[in-house]
Subunit: 150 residues, 2 copies
């Protein structure tokens, strides 16, 4: 899946990107907004679960407000993630199960789809686009399909 | 945004991919399931608006059933599409407004987010991953946000 380049071997790049995604998961567990924002390039195009259609870059303040709604650590468990590195760019997609308990709310546990596009920067790989979603039932309920399993 | 490679100039690749996306729009307008499936690689990972989480490749039969639910041509108008070519891979993201009228239903018109990942094949560029979604309101309604504007 990787394209030979003049850069470091793809396997090193893949390892670096997987480490970045692993740190992203840890940042959710630790509810650390700054660590959560660290993998993103400035002006990364973020397509999130909720409106608006897109965010222009990660806002640490917005992430802090969201993290504060959780009572427990947040787990985002990856499944079937497929990564492709091509020169100074990379992309990957797969499933993430988000689970934990919100303040005053029920236990949360659902699978979402995640696509990420990355670019090599002087400081390492950075996410320049993230697309996260849950499909919805196209019936009279139009409810998000939180009950799907990979 | 493009990486120099031993292949054709990125501008030629970008033109080829834009032509592919343009043909995809035309296939929707014509409600031509075979033309709609043509840009996809076998086993492309499709994250669609509705369940399941993913489809393993495009099914022409499934597309025919969906196309038959529309009374009018279907328009998918792109907006703010950003494309990056890197060697034998490419990715792009932006908005698509889907509009038309369903049989026995109201007029449809909403903006969705679209991410595509492509790979160069012997026969040309092919989509290996498509992620399409509408965000949903995280309130008591959990309704899809069909009312957003780019």
């Amino acid at each position: 899946m990787s394209t030979a380049t003049l850069h470091a071997p793809a396997s090193t790049d893949e390892a670096a990107i997987l480490a970045l995604l692993s740190a992203f998961r840890q940042a959710h567990h630790d509810k650390d907004a700054a660590a959560l924002a660290a993998p993103f390039a400035p002006h990364a195009a973020i397509y999130d679960l909720e409106p608006p259609l897109a965010h222009d870059g990660i806002s640490i303040e917005r992430k802090e407000r969201w993290l504060a709604t959780w009572e427990t650590p947040i787990d985002i468990e990856p499944r079937n993630f497929k990564l492709t590195v091509s020169g100074d760019h990379a992309f990957g997609w797969g499933y993430l199960r988000m689970s934990g308990t919100k303040h005053g709310g029920p236990q949360v546990s659902f699978w979402m789809r995640s696509t990420v596009c990355l670019q090599r920067a002087a400081s390492g790989w950075r996410i320049i686009h993230e697309h996260t979603s849950v499909p919805f039932y196209m019936d009279e309920t139009l409810r998000p399909a939180f009950d799907l399993q990979p």
